[in-house]
């Protein structure tokens, strides 16, 4: 009871077998149980499924795997969804949702294209403006949610209508098309590395995915984001400024959606005011399949990244195998439900009806979650 103030906490306790290190003064020897990879059972399952999908289609479907370049080129068809999913997962980590990503993507791409075609601004500068617009639209979402205190589901539903309208209005009757080749390469081009074609989309996605992974799992922002998602109250009592975190999440979601819109524009070398509409549901499916809880907090980026690749390659493989687009959509829906049902079986948050009601009871005393 002498040395440093805290260390001297005496050990007077009965019947508590602490893991004592022999001969050590300390009661416990702190260590991390898992050091090698921040990866949980869910991510492993997704990885196994992804490998199974890749292996299965490569073996069974001619045309899926001719060479590595062609396999990678397939990803050009789904990576815009992945970009949206990356941004959207930040919002879902906070326990919110952003239904306006599709409309944001369209609006930002349309604005960028119009700036380019009407004012002759450099296409890359226009694209940059598009991303800024996307971020602003995200900020507007956050403003509606925080200051008007409207639930994220409703707020972003409403703004999605507004952004969608604006996109149609700005696109006009003949939306611009025929972007410069250099810009189109963002969607369809590939970096040639000695006979090996690496699509630019993949480079973009991998860099961003890596960035998001680090952001969520290793940065102070990510830690705060997860804390807010698990318990906004606890975050507040820990001195975390919740509104800052929420605004950042929605801004990033908007920016990523606009980026996806620009990539789509480059992919088609044209913009359409409704081209973002397809992004929303698939992106939510990717995030949820990736293990992020719709209630917030739980999950990690690696799962989302794997889910993007899993769903994407699954769809492409099925399309190549001759299944129609809608069958693959259907399968996507089935996978979503089954996977979440399976996950809930192993989830300590889930449980019997009784436990669930108890959880709801406790939840209702704090905040009423969105449905």
């Amino acid at each position: 009871m002498s040395s440093s103030p805290i260390t001297s906490a005496a050990l007077r306790r009965q019947g508590d077998e602490a893991p004592r290190a022999a001969g050590s003064d300390n009661a416990v020897k702190p260590f991390n149980r898992r050091r090698w990879l921040p990866i949980g059972g869910w991510e492993v399952a997704l990885l196994v499924l992804l490998l199974a999908v890749l292996g299965g289609f490569s073996a069974g479907v001619p045309g899926f795997f001719d060479n590595t370049s062609s396999l990678l080129a397939l990803s050009e068809n789904f990576l815009p969804f992945g970009l949206v999913a990356l941004g959207l997962s930040l919002v879902i980590f906070t326990g919110g949702i952003d239904l306006s990503v599709g409309a944001t993507a369209s609006l930002a791409a349309v604005i960028a294209a119009q700036i380019w075609s009407l004012y002759g601004v450099n296409i890359w500068l226009a694209a940059g403006i598009g991303v800024v617009i996307g971020a602003l639209l995200g900020a507007l979402n956050a403003a509606v949610i925080i200051w008007l205190r409207i639930e994220p589901l409703i707020a972003t539903l409403a703004t999605s209508f507004i952004y969608g309208s604006a996109a149609v209005a700005i696109a006009g009757d003949a939306p611009p098309s025929g972007f410069p080749e250099a810009f189109n390469n963002l969607g369809v081009g590939a970096l040639s590395l000695g006979g090996f074609q690496l699509p630019y989309q993949i480079i973009l996605f991998v860099l961003l995915a890596l960035g998001f992974w680090l952001l969520v799992s290793r940065s102070a922002f990510g830690r705060k984001l997860i804390t807010v998602g698990y318990s906004a109250e606890a975050a507040r009592y820990s001195g975390i400024r919740i509104n800052r975190i929420l605004i950042t999440a929605y801004v990033v979601s908007g920016a990523m959606a606009s980026l996806a819109g620009l990539v789509l524009a480059a992919y088609y070398s044209a913009v359409r005011p409704d081209m973002g509409d397809v992004l929303l549901l698939t992106a939510i499916t990717m995030v949820v399949l990736g293990g992020v809880s719709i209630f917030g907090g739980e999950g990690n980026m690696l799962g989302v990244i794997l889910a993007v690749l899993l769903l994407g390659f699954l769809r492409q493989g099925m399309l190549i195998a001759g299944f129609s687009d809608m069958v693959t959509t259907m399968l996507t829906g089935g996978i979503l439900i089954v996977s979440i049902a399976v996950k809930n079986q192993f989830n300590p948050r889930g449980g019997s009806l009784g436990q669930r009601l108890w959880a709801l009871l406790r939840r209702s005393t704090t905040t009423r979650g969105s449905p």
């Binding site: 439900i337 979440i340 209702s364 449905p371």
Partner: protein, 333 residues
């Protein structure tokens, strides 16, 4: 709180919220009528019988879907799968009528049965598997969309038998020139209203929406109630699909999903005064809300507003509706 006084005189004013509040309905009617009159002054065609009839008819399909959505939201759930269910019913009944001579009398039970089965599936997934309703119905959204595509196999409905067209556009009684879809909607509305207001089941929907834990403690079969409400929502969506194909005489694979009728139905329910947090459902408000939407959209056409701003109007409408509801909730914490 003066109202607790034992011997105190009754407070002179009535309670702040009478049991049967007409505020929301009256507001919607007033706003709608005002809009019709104002636009009518500028353009006399707008208040012509033809146009009024058109606006009324135009709101029926959305109303039917939104009635089911209202029940689900009142129970503190959400049902995104109504859009593909509508499309599925439209395609199945339309294609069968087109190629196999399915009569209208067969089509109605067929659609209702389809909605019952698929809606029950939604309900079972939500109520027993502990998956949030938004995720479940997102999944079944994809599933049912796929079903549409599988069934239609690239074909589409472009002509329906005359009986269908008559059902969708004509009127049943000459004495009462009320279009049949409107009549059907009124009947469905009456049934739903009666259900929600005057049956034990309807009241338990609201009890679950208010506080499911308390409802469970009061001995209500919460799981079973949930399943039934999603089943009703499915049935109404499918019936709306049949109405859609009768009214428009055509259907493609994107019927319902293309118009984002799932989002529209949520919007209309909220505008009608249903609380997104559950516990309060206003069916009449929902129908009036969808009528209002129809009037607004038609008015925009008449005012030569570019159609592109239509959905922005919807968005602003939702924000305004939710904000007005919110303010009232805050007044009585």
């Amino acid at each position: 709180m003066s109202a607790v006084g034992i011997h105190a005189a009754r407070p002179s004013g009535r309670a702040r919220l009478p049991r049967f509040s007409l505020n929301r309905e009256l507001t919607l009617v007033a706003v709608t009528v005002a809009l019709v009159v104002v636009v009518g002054i500028f353009n006399h065609d707008f208040i012509g019988v033809q146009n009024l009839r058109f606006m009324l008819l135009n709101s029926v399909v959305l109303s039917l879907v939104a009635l089911g959505q209202t029940l689900v939201i009142a129970m503190r759930g959400i049902d995104l799968s109504v859009a593909p269910l509508l499309g599925l019913a439209a395609m199945v009944s339309g294609l069968l009528a087109q190629s196999h001579g399915l009569t209208l009398l067969e089509a109605v039970p067929l659609c209702l049965a389809m909605g019952l089965v698929l809606g029950t599936l939604n309900g079972l997934l939500v109520a027993t598997l502990n998956i949030p309703p938004i995720v479940v119905t997102l999944g079944t959204y994809s599933l049912y969309s796929g079903l549409i595509f599988l069934y239609s196999d690239g074909t589409q409905v472009d002509s329906v038998p005359p009986a269908y067209a008559a059902f969708g556009n004509g009127h049943l009684f000459d004495a009462l020139p009320l279009p049949t879809p409107v009549l059907a909607l009124l009947i469905v509305l009456a049934l739903c209203w009666y259900l929600l207001r005057h049956t034990r089941f309807g009241r338990s929907i609201l009890a679950v929406g208010n506080n499911d834990a308390a409802a469970y403690h009061a001995g209500l079969p919460v799981t079973w109630i949930r399943v039934r409400v999603y089943a009703i929502s499915g049935m109404l969506a499918c019936f709306a699909g049949l109405m859609f194909v009768c009214y428009t005489g055509s259907a493609t694979v994107t019927a319902g999903t293309g118009d984002h009728i799932e989002l529209q139905s949520i919007a209309v329910a909220l505008v009608g005064g249903t609380a997104i947090a559950g516990g309060r459902g206003n069916l009449i408000g929902t129908v009036l809300g969808s009528l209002f939407l129809s009037v607004v959209l038609t008015a925009l056409v008449f005012l030569r507003v570019p159609p592109i701003w239509y959905s922005a109007g919807e968005g602003l409408m939702i924000l305004a509706a939710v904000q007005s509801g919110l303010r009232r909730r805050r007044a009585t914490p």
